[in-house]
Structure formats: C-alpha cells, structure tokens
C-alpha cells in the first residue's frame, strides 16, 4: 500500500488516454495529432520525447502545460489537471523558439518572470544575478533582447525557465541554436539539474543529445506512441551476444566458441550489443505501418498472456 502511494508521489507527469484532434471552424476533424497517449514521467528522471515532425511531441508538451485542451483523456502534472494554473508554480518551461519580449533586456526579462512567480524583490534580485552568471551573459545583461544572437536568446530563455527553481523543467528542443560548446554545456546542465533532483521532460530532434542525457524516452510517430522505456533497454540488440576478450592466443581464438573458460582467458564482457538511437528511430519511422503502437503492443502482450493463463487454467482443470 505504502509503496503504491510512494509510486504515486513519484509520478510527476501522467497522461491517461490523452488524445488531441485538431478541428476546423465547423468542428470537423482535421488532424489526429495525438492518440491515446499513456505515459508517466517520474521524479528525478530525464524523459525524452522523440519523433519526426508532426508526430505529436509539441502537442503533448502543450497539453501537459495547459496551452491546449485535450479532446479526450487527461494530463496530470503534480497530480493536478493540466489546466490548473497553480501547477505552474513548480514548472519551468523553455519553448522551442525564444518567445521573449524583445524590448526588454536580460535583467528586465528575468525580473518580469520572477514577478510572475510572486517572488519578493530581494529574492528576484538574487535569482536574476545567479542566473545571469549561470548562463554567462553578464556582459550583455543590459542590452535589449532584440540585439541578442540566437544562442544568447536561447540561454536567456533557459534562465527564465529556471527563475522559480522549478521541480519540473519542460524543455522543447533545448539545444536548438546553440554552438557545439553551448550544446555540451546545455547537456551538462540538464544532467546537473537531474542530479539536483529535478525532473526533466524534453523533446528534441537531435537524437545524439537525447541518447546522451535521457534516462527514458518515448518515441512518437503520427500521434501514436511507438516505443517507451529506458534508453539502454531500447537500444539493446537482444538476439545477438557480443563477447569481448583480451590476450587470447590464436588457437584459443579458434576454439573460443567451445572453450572460453578452458583457455584461462579473462572474459571482459559478454552482452547484447546496442544499436544507435538513430538506427532505432529510423527503423520505427520506416516500419511505422507494420509496427503496432506501444499501447497496442502492450494490449496484444496482455491478451497473449491472458490467453496463456486461460489455456494453462483449462489444462489444470482437465488434469
């Protein structure tokens, strides 16, 4: 019982059968942007949403943030409905583009967003100072954002997402517009934030970034969840065993499949090799029609196991 309560407390984001259909003015369905999405994001993990353009990543994030209303299903954040404004007190959001007021400078921008979190003047001042230092933009803090480069704007966007020291950080394409060093710093920062106990939901097209930082990922395609799980599990090639050894003689190499241990060699590893996220992603997109969605697969698996259970029950009855 207590374990279940703890599990519940650890779930930061939960979507239940979440669907979104975009309709035209007359209410006729135009696009099925998201279909029956069930996912959970747990406290302290970095969760990545992956998918090609139009796969429903941004729609998912907007539904979670309450910027869109679901057609059916529900999105819960901190166990509150996504349309509940009070949940935002614990969220930081970095949008895909830097949707900031260009006529403000960096200090004014952060001060403004600090006010929206009802922060006192002293706390705002301290937080603005810390964040400007964190994103290394002190030299340009009094310049209007319209004079900023894309990378600088991205950094100030990140700072505004962190102004309230949030528990949940939602990052939409966080490394877009950053140079390689900036990208590396962003990834390090994401991991550091996770290490501080924060939960991160991010979506990105840059698969290497996701592979580098995410603990778990969900892959969406055409509004449907195709895969979800821990990165290492998803990338593991289960039908191949890879053996890695050191100091083997030529003879031993000949007989290795028979007598690895007999040759007194050190067995370094014996495991399934992993593919790259890029290969996995492309295979999902390529085989999308043939490949059932995550939910359907799960249903099928459940059906299969219940059939097996029924069969075994019938067998035991007969005996």
């Amino acid at each position: 019982m207590s374990k279940s309560v703890d599990d519940k407390k650890d779930v930061i984001i939960e979507t239940r059968n979440l669907s979104k259909v975009y309709k035209d003015f007359w209410g006729r369905p135009k696009v099925n942007a998201l279909e029956s999405l069930d996912l959970e994001v747990r406290r302290g993990e970095i969760f990545g949403l992956l998918g090609p353009n139009g796969s429903g990543k941004s729609t998912t994030i907007k539904l979670i943030l309450g910027l869109l209303f679901p057609t059916s299903g529900q999105a819960l954040v901190f166990d509150k409905d996504a349309s509940d404004v009070s949940k935002n007190e614990r969220i930081g959001y970095l949008p895909e583009e830097s949707y900031l007021y260009k006529f403000l400078n960096a200090e004014e921008t952060l001060d403004f967003y600090g006010r929206l979190f009802n922060m006192s003047a002293g706390r705002r001042k301290q937080r603005v100072r810390d964040l400007i230092k964190l994103i290394d933009i002190e030299w340009a803090k009094r310049r209007q954002l319209k004079e900023y480069s894309k990378g600088m704007t991205r950094r100030i966007g990140l700072a505004q997402a962190l102004i309230n020291d949030p528990e949940l950080i939602v990052l939409d394409e966080p490394t877009t517009g950053l140079d390689p060093i900036g990208t590396r710093e962003m990834k390090d920062l994401i991991v550091r934030l996770r290490d501080q106990g924060k939960t991160i939901l991010m979506c990105s097209h840059l698969l290497a970034d996701v592979q580098d930082v995410c603990d778990r990922i969900a892959i969406l395609h055409q509004g449907e969840l195709k895969e979800m799980g821990a990165v290492e599990n998803l990338l593991s090639v289960r039908d191949i065993t890879q053996i890695q050894a050191k100091g083997l003689s030529d003879d031993a190499q000949q007989q290795i499949r028979k007598i690895i241990e007999g040759d007194q060699a050190d067995l370094v590893s014996m495991e399934n090799p992993t593919t790259t996220l890029e290969d996995l992603f492309l295979s999902i997109v390529r085989d999308s029609k043939a490949r059932p969605g995550y939910n359907r697969k799960r249903e099928r698996d459940q059906d299969g196991s219940s059939e097996a259970e029924t069969a075994s029950a019938e067998a035991s009855d007969k005996s």
């Binding site: 869109l68 509940d84 935002n88 959001y93 900031l100 967003y113 929206l116 009802n118």
Partner: protein, 619 residues
C-alpha cells in the same frame, strides 16, 4: 447650453435606478460568455467536455483564481504593458499634439466672438480624439501580437491567472494614457491661458469726460483682433478698479489708475466655472392652470426640437422653477439674508410673432414666490421684477435683497420683505417667469434659469473635464483589451470602434428604432434615397414589399439598439462644452461617470477572464 435632463437626477436616485441596468448588463455578458464558450468548446471538443470545461472554469474562477490574485504579478504585467507601449513609441502622440498646438493659429478663427470656448473646445477635443485613438490601437493589438508571436506561452505557463493578464494590460495602457493625458492637460492649459492673455492700452484721445459726473468713456487699442469700449470714474481713488471695459470676445478688463494714466488689467470673465443651482421646471398654461389641474403646460411653437417649451406673452402662461435647499449662507449674504443679492442667470429663447422693432428686447418679469400654497396669494408673491431678453443672450438678473417688495393687500402699498424669512420655506423657493409683451414668446428648458452660487475654480473644472476624458480612455482600453482576448488585432480594433460609435449614437439609434426619426431603418432609408422618396411620406413600394422591408429593418434596429444599450454612453463623459461655456461640472455627474466606469471595469474584467481561461492559447 443644452443639458441632458438626466443630469438633473441626483446621484443617489440615479444609482437606485441604474442598479437594475447594471445587473442586466452583467447578466447579459455572463450569459453571452457561457453560451459562446460552451458552443465553441463543444465544437472543438465534445458537448460533455464543454460542460466540464465551462463548468470547471466557473468553479475555478470563484474558488481559486480570483482569491489567489497577486498584486506583484499584476504589477509585473502592468509594467510590461507600460514598457511595451513606451518602447513602441506611443509618446509620439504627445509630440503630435504639441505640433498641432504650435500650428493651431493657422486654422483657429482668431476673430471668434468667444475665443475661450474655441480654444478650450479645440484642446479638449484634440486630446480626446488622439488619446482614444491611441487607446484603441494599443489595447486591441497587444494581446493578439503576444499570441501571434507566442510570447504569451511564457506567460500562461507561469502561475498567472487570466484576469491578471487582462488587468495588467488595462492598467498598463491606462497608466500610459494617464501620463499622456496629464501632459496634454498641462500643455492645453498653458496654451489656453497664454492664448487668451493679452493687453490693451487706453486710446487717450478717445476719452470723453462728463465734467459733472466725472465719468469718462472711450475705447482701447486693438489687440488680439478686438478692442473694448470702456467707462472710467475719475472720482474714484485708491488701488481698486476705477473703471471697466465692456465685454468683447467673451471677456472684460478692469481699469486701474497708474499715476496720471489709466491701465487695463488682465482679461476677466472668459475662464469661468459658474456654479448653477438648478430648480425643477413646470408650467402654468395661459389661464394660470397647473398641468395637474388640466392645464396645457408649456407651448410648442412648431419647432422640431422639443428641448424647450414656450410661454406666451401677456397671459398667465408662466414658467415656474422650484429650488430646494437654499440658504442665506449659500450666497454670502449673512445668516439673516439682509444684505446681498440673489444672482439669477437666464438663457431664454425669444420667439416673435409680430413685426415691429425686431432688434428690440422682449420684456419679461420675475416673481419670487413662497411655495406654501395654503398661504393667501398676497403673502406668497413678491412684486414683479422686470427684465428684458433677446435672442441667444445669457443674461444675469441680480435681485438685491433690499429691493424685494410685496404688495400689502390692505394698503396696496409695496412693503419691503426678507427673502429668506418671508419667501423661502424649508429651503424651498419658487421663481416664476412671465413674458409681458403680447404675441411674443419665451422658450425655456430646465437648465435655462439657475441661481449662481459662488464661482468655482476654473482650474478644478478643467481637471474634472480631463477626468471625464480619462474615464473614456479607460472604457476604450477595457473594450479594446476585452475584444483582443478573442479577436485578432484589426478586428478587435474595429469592434472597439463600433462600441464607441454605438455609444455615441445610441440616442439616434433609439430614435430611429422608435420611429421618432423619420425615414425608417437603414434598408428603408436606402431605398428612399435610391428612389428619391421623401423621409416623411409613406414608402411607396407596395404593401408586401414595404412590410418585408420594415420587418427586416425592425429586426436590425432592435439588434442594434440592444447592442447600443450595452455600450457606454460616451457623450455623457464629454464635458468639454461645460468647461468651454464656463459651467462647473457637478460632483453628482462625476460620481455617475465613475460608477459607470467601475461597472464596465468589473463586467469586462470577468468577461475577459472567462474568455482567456476558456481559450486554447496554442490552438
């Protein structure tokens, strides 16, 4: 000056009547929001979800969002709106205003009979139009721009409530408008005062002295396109005025002695704030009968404009003003009211039915009457106080307390009476006005006779007038921001403009709707124009076609009138004519305007909240 009869209703009485209207306004807005929000949500989602979303929204508003408002967030949003407006260079409006004033001399008639009215009318109307246009523009475009640029995403993903977004815009743009208004008011005041200020010198050669009386007459130099005739009394000594220049271009000058010379002081009487004490008007017909006794009341002389009613000369046709709450203290006449004058000002229309001396004045008389009808007539009526009136002239009749007489019924002698002891009962006094000349008529409305209380401050009156502009600014901003919560920028601006136009012309729309304005509704009048049919004849289109046209017009006009009734009555906020004509803006009027503005503020705040919170920001 024409005054809307509703202005005479005291604030308390007005409020009691207006509460019903305000409740209707709030209910209409609420029902409209519920129906529209439900319809749109049901179309975009499902009817079941629409009930949940709309119902949930209502619950959340009451339980969570409004109670958890944050002043800091509102100030943050307000600052943002101010910064946005300032960095969008809205202050350029002020520069434009200053440029207009700099070149005002090119298009203002400097030889106008009343330059003060002209200057005041110009600066007040220019300030109003510029500010309202600005308010319409910035308020209608701001939120749609935020939605278009998606900057709203970074706001709505913070714990900002929908009403805080709405309030921030209104307060921010209102604040910018207020700063501009204060600047414009200051510059306008300086422009008017400096524009009217001028000096004349005495044309010494023009003085003609009457050796017996010591009085001298003459005229001044021509300055600012006019000159004055004047009268000097050389027997007067001391530092005070020794003469007076006659009124020209709406002002006069006092004349002082400076050594052996005479000099004119600054202009006086052009920037006034007369404080009129109005009474209620009723009429006795030509036989002296009250309306309640079957009298016909005031007469119509055939004019289409029925604002004024007329009394016939040399009959018992009488206009009676009843004043309340009068006291001797009001007129600085001492507690007993023994000394001083009762200053009556009249603005009567003269309607002549006979030829003769067409330029001559028409004679009338005033009687001060004790309103206590149980007293014998001889005790109620003062002796007639004569006056003469001519067309379009406002004139003052100062009734000296010591000159008020009553005829003794037994001796037929005129005896002196005390106004406040013998005629005023519980602060109530009747003033009867009659026309003496046969076949001539006086026309009057309630505002055409009043007692002048001690003068108010022109500067304060000027500020009150700008307060009226400020309230219009707030109303336009409220509507602009409200429409921008669900319309795109240009459509929101047109919608706001429509509200302003409907508010301004709601009276006319009402007249057309009720049939008081001839010519029918828009379709009928269009057909009359095309087919060249007069407005007062029956429409000649055949019975069926006429019925169809009039039915369509009726539907359209009913809809228009309903919408126009929801719009603020903008003309009531425009007090330029009061300031220009030198009438004090009464506190009751300001209180009514403030109340109306507050009601619109709250209604639109709630409406704006519901629209924003039930809207998919990212859709």
């Amino acid at each position: 000056m024409v005054i809307d009869p509703s202005e005479f209703i005291p604030f308390g009485e007005w409020l009691a009547n207006a509460v019903g209207g305000f409740v209707v306004l709030a209910l209409v807005m609420f029902v409209a929001w519920t129906v529209i929000a439900f319809a749109f949500t049901a179309i975009r989602n499902t009817p079941k979800q629409a009930v949940s979303i709309v119902g949930g929204g209502l619950k959340r508003a009451i339980i969570e969002d409004f109670p958890r408002s944050s002043l800091r967030r509102i100030i943050g949003m307000t600052r943002l709106a101010v910064q946005e407006a300032i960095r969008n260079k809205v202050l350029i409006i002020f520069a434009l205003f200053v440029v207009l004033l700099l070149f005002a001399g090119w298009f203002l008639d400097v030889q106008n009979d009343h330059p003060a009215r002209l200057y005041l009318g110009f600066v007040i109307s220019t300030s109003t139009y510029l500010l309202l246009a600005l308010a319409m523009f910035v308020s209608a475009f701001s939120l749609p721009n935020d939605i278009k640029n998606k900057t709203i995403y970074t706001i709505t993903t913070k714990p900002v409530r929908a009403h805080e977004i709405f309030l921030g815009r209104v307060l921010g743009f209102g604040l910018v408008g207020t700063i501009l208004l204060i600047l414009m008011a200051a510059v306008s005041y300086a422009f008017v005062v400096r524009g009217l200020d001028h000096k004349h010198t005495i044309e010494t050669a023009s003085i003609e002295w009457d050796e017996e009386t010591g009085l001298g007459t003459g005229y001044t130099s021509v300055d600012s396109h006019h000159r004055h005739d004047f009268l000097i009394n050389r027997n007067l000594t001391g530092d005070g005025a020794v003469g007076i220049a006659e009124v020209a271009q709406g002002h006069s000058h006092a004349i002082f002695r400076e050594g052996d010379n005479y000099v004119l002081g600054p202009p006086t009487g052009d920037l006034l704030a007369r404080v009129p004490v109005y009474g209620n008007l009723r009429f006795l017909d030509r036989y002296g009968r009250e309306s309640e006794d079957g009298g016909d009341g005031g007469l119509s002389v055939g004019k289409e404009w029925t604002y004024r009613e007329y009394i016939e000369g040399n009959t018992l046709n009488t206009a009676i003003w009843t004043f309340d709450n009068l006291s001797a203290e009001m007129f600085n006449s001492g507690a007993g009211g023994e000394e001083g004058t009762l200053p009556l000002e009249l603005n009567l229309r003269v309607f002549r039915t006979t030829k003769g001396d067409i330029e001559g004045k028409v004679r009338g008389e005033i009687l001060l009457v004790n309103p206590e009808k149980t007293l014998p007539p001889a005790e109620r009526y003062s002796a007639p106080i004569p006056f003469e009136a001519e067309e379009f002239q406002t004139f003052q009749v100062d009734i000296d307390y010591s000159e008020i007489r009553r005829q003794n019924p037994s001796t037929a002698e005129l005896e002196k009476i005390n106004l406040f002891r013998d005629l005023v009962v519980n602060g109530k006094l009747e003033v009867h006005v009659r026309c003496r000349d046969h076949a001539q008529f006086f026309g009057m409305a309630q505002a055409d006779l009043y007692i002048r209380a001690p003068e108010g401050s022109f500067e304060m009156n000027f500020i009150k007038c700008y307060l009226g502009i400020w309230m219009q600014l707030v109303l336009v901003t409220l509507f602009g921001v409200f429409f921008s919560t669900f319309l795109n920028g240009i459509v929101a601006m047109v919608a706001t403009l429509s509200i302003v136009v409907m508010g301004i012309s709601s009276g006319f729309i009402g007249e057309v709707q009720s049939g008081d304005a001839p010519g029918g509704g828009p379709i009928e009048s269009l057909i009359r124009n095309i087919t060249q049919q007069g407005a007062t004849v029956d429409l000649d289109m055949g019975e069926t076609a006429t019925s169809v046209i009039q039915a369509m017009d009726k539907f359209y006009l009913n809809t228009m009138e309903s919408v126009a009734n929801l719009a603020p009555d903008f003309p009531k906020f425009n007090m330029a004519s009061k300031v220009a004509y030198g009438y004090d803006i009464q506190l009751d009027l300001i209180l009514k305007q403030i109340t109306t503005t507050l009601v619109y503020f709250f209604v639109l705040l709630f409406a704006g909240y519901f629209v924003i919170s039930s809207r998919e920001i990212a859709a």
